[in-house]
C-alpha cells in the first residue's frame, strides 16, 4: 500500500526462544488514528519499540516511510526516529529539567533555532495541550494527567509524521482521560500525522480510532473499524470488548489440575 507510512510485515519477535509475536502483519495509513489492542503482556509495547528500532525482529521487518528499520545503522535509525514522536506510559519527562526545558529539549538537540524561536515554539506546543501556564513548573509538581500532556507536547515538538502512544490512558481519572482522547484526535488531524496507540481501554479507543488491531497469542486476532469490531462474532473480540472475565482468554494462568495440586502440595 503506497499510502501506508508504517508497515509491519510477517514480523516475529521473541526473547530467549519464547516467541512473543509470530508473523504479524499490520498497515498504518497516513493521517489515520490506529489502535493496537490486546491483553496485558500480549507484546503491544514491544511492537512500538520494534517500530522505533529499539529492538530488532527475529523474522520479518518493519517499514517506516518505505525503509526497513532494523537493517539501518545507528544514524539511519536516528534519522527515522526524527519522524516519530512517542508518548511513554508514565510520561518519561526529564525530572531534572523544567516543563519548558522538557519541551524545548528535542529542538535544542536537533535544530539550530534561536532562543526566541524556541520560546515561541515551546509556548505554542504547550498551548496546544493547554499547559502554557505551567511552563515554569518542574515535572515532580505535575499531576499524572498534566505530565502526560507535557510529554505529548514534547513528542510533537518537532512536528513528527508518526506519533506513538504507549498506554496513554493508564492510571488517569476520567476527566484527564477525556482530555487526552480529545488531544490525540485533534493533534493528529491538525498535524496531518499518523497516530499509533497501544492501549487496552476499549471504551475510549472505540470513540476516536479509525482502525483497530487486536493482538492475542502473538498474532493479529482481529482487525477492523470500531463498528466492525462491535458487531464481531469472534469469541475473543467479544470477550475483550465487553470485558467478560472468562472466555477464550482464561482467568487462570496455565496450571496443573487444581485438586491434584492441593493434594500433592504445590511444587
Amino acid at each position: 500500500m503506497a499510502n501506508a507510512i508504517v508497515e509491519i510485515k510477517d514480523l516475529s519477535f521473541g526473547y530467549k526462544g519464547r516467541l512473543l509475536h509470530q508473523g504479524i502483519n499490520m498497515t498504518f495509513p497516513r493521517g489515520k488514528v490506529v489502535a493496537i489492542m490486546g491483553g496485558s503482556g500480549s507484546g503491544k509495547t514491544t511492537l512500538l519499540r520494534l517500530i522505533g528500532g529499539q529492538l530488532k525482529p527475529s523474522k520479518g521487518s518493519v517499514l517506516v516511510d518505505g525503509e526497513v528499520v532494523h537493517t539501518q545503522n545507528r544514524d539511519g535509525i536516528y534519522r527515522l526516529r526524527r519522524k516519530m514522536g512517542m508518548l511513554f506510559q508514565q510520561g518519561a519527562l526529564f525530572t531534572d529539567l523544567s516543563v519548558y526545558e522538557n519541551v524545548a529539549f528535542p529542538m535544542r538537540e536537533h535544530t539550530d533555532l534561536t532562543e526566541s524561536m524556541i520560546r515561541d515554539l515551546v509556548l505554542m506546543k504547550l498551548n496546544a495541550v493547554g499547559l502554557r501556564g505551567a511552563h515554569a513548573l518542574m515535572p515532580t509538581e505535575l499531576s499524572g494527567g498534566m505530565a502526560r500532556r507535557v510529554s505529548l507536547a514534547r513528542a510533537i515538538a518537532l512536528d513528527p509524521s508518526i506519533i506513538m502512544y504507549d498506554e496513554p490512558f493508564a492510571g488517569l481519572d476520567p476527566i484527564s482521560m477525556a482530555v487526552i482522547c480529545d488531544l490525540i484526535r485533534s493533534l493528529n488531524d491538525a498535524l496531518g500525522a499518523t497516530s499509533i496507540i497501544v492501549t487496552h481501554d476499549v471504551e475510549e479507543t472505540f470513540q476516536f480510532a479509525d482502525y483497530i488491531y487486536f493482538v492475542a497469542n502473538g498474532v493479529v486476532a482481529a482487525e477492523g473499524t470500531p463498528d466492525d469490531l462491535r458487531q464481531s462474532s469472534l469469541p475473543f473480540v467479544h470477550q475483550f470488548v465487553y470485558g467478560e472475565k472468562d472466555g477464550p482468554v482464561p482467568f487462570h494462568y496455565a496450571a496443573p489440575d487444581y485438586q491434584h495440586s492441593l493434594l500433592r502440595g504445590a511444587r
Partner: protein, 262 residues
C-alpha cells in the same frame, strides 16, 4: 553430592556473570569515550555535572581531610618523638597525604557521596523510561547523559584530592605547631626538602585521575545496568560503593608499585 554440584554450578554462574559484567562495563566505557565529543562541544552539560559531583562533595571531603590530617599529626608525633625526630612530622603528614591518603580517601568518599548519587539517578532515569524516551527522540543517552557525568567525575576527582591533601596538611600543621609545639620553620622546611613535586605530588594527582575514571565509570555502569525496579536500583547503589572501593584499593596498589619501580 547433589548439593555440592549445585553449589559449584552457582559459583560458576556467579563467576561468568562477573566476567560478563566486566565486558559490558568495558563496552560502555568505550562507547562513552567515542561519544564524548558532545560533552566538550556543549561544555555546559559537563559543567553542570561538575557542580553535582564535585562542588556538592566539597564539604564532606574538606571536613574529612581536616580530621585525617590532625590524626596523622597526632599519631605520627607519638612515634617520631621516640626517635627524637619530631620535626619530621611535617614530612610524614605531607607524604602520607599527597601520595596515598589524599587520592585514596577522596576516591572512597567520592564513591559514597557522588558515585551512589550517579547510580541512583541513572537507574531511576532508566526505570522511568527517560533514557528510552531520549533514544526515541534520536538523542543518544550515552552522549547526552553518560559522557558528561563521566568527564565531570574525571575532572572533579583530582581537584577534590588536591584539596584533600592541602587541607589535610593544614590540619596536621594546626596540631603539630600550635598544639604540640613543633617549630613551624622546621615543619615546613623538612616538608619542602623531602616532598618531590613530580614523584610525590604529580604522581598523587595522576592516581586521583585514574580513580576518577574508575569510580565514575563504575557508578555509571551500575546505574545503566540496574534492573528498572526500586530493588534493582538500591542493589546497584550498594554495588557501586563495594566495587568502587575495591577497585580503588586494588588500583592503588598497582599504581604505587609502578611509581616506585620507575
Amino acid at each position: 553430592m547433589h548439593k555440592i554440584k549445585r553449589m559449584l554450578s552457582r559459583l560458576g554462574a556467579g563467576f561468568v556473570n562477573k566476567v560478563w559484567r566486566l565486558g559490558a562495563g568495558a563496552r560502555l566505557f568505550w562507547l562513552t569515550l567515542i561519544s564524548s565529543g558532545e560533552s566538550f562541544r556543549r561544555f555546559r552539560l559537563t559543567v553542570r555535572e561538575v557542580y553535582f559531583t564535585g562542588v556538592m562533595s566539597l564539604i564532606i571531603i574538606l571536613v574529612s581531610a581536616f580530621f585525617v590530617g590532625m590524626v596523622l599529626a597526632l599519631q605520627g608525633y607519638q612515634t617520631l618523638q621516640k626517635y627524637g625526630s619530631s620535626e619530621a612530622i611535617g614530612v610524614l603528614v605531607a607524604l602520607a597525604l599527597v601520595r596515598e591518603l589524599g587520592p585514596v580517601v577522596t576516591a572512597l568518599l567520592f564513591a559514597g557521596r557522588a558515585g551512589t548519587a550517579i547510580t541512583a539517578e541513572i537507574g531511576l532515569m532508566k526505570a522511568t523510561e527517560q533514557l528510552s524516551a531520549m533514544e526515541m527522540m534520536a538523542v543518544s543517552p550515552i552522549a547526552r547523559v553518560i559522557a558528561p557525568r563521566f568527564w565531570a567525575g574525571v575532572i572533579a576527582m583530582p581537584i577534590l584530592a588536591t584539596l584533600f591533601s592541602m587541607v589535610g596538611i593544614l590540619g596536621g600543621y594546626l596540631v603539630a605547631v600550635p598544639l604540640i609545639g613543633v617549630d613551624a620553620g622546621a615543619f615546613w622546611s623538612q616538608m619542602q626538602a623531602n616532598v618531590d613535586w613530580r614523584h610525590d605530588i604529580l604522581n598523587g594527582v595522576f592516581k586521583s585521575v585514574v580513580f576518577g575514571v574508575a569510580c565514575t565509570m563504575i557508578a555509571l555502569f551500575e546505574g545503566y545496568d540496574a534492573p528498572p525496579t526500586a530493588e534493582g536500583v538500591s542493589r546497584a547503589t550498594t554495588r557501586t560503593v563495594v566495587t568502587s572501593s575495591l577497585a580503588v584499593l586494588g588500583l592503588d596498589f598497582i599504581l604505587t608499585s609502578f611509581m616506585i619501580s620507575v
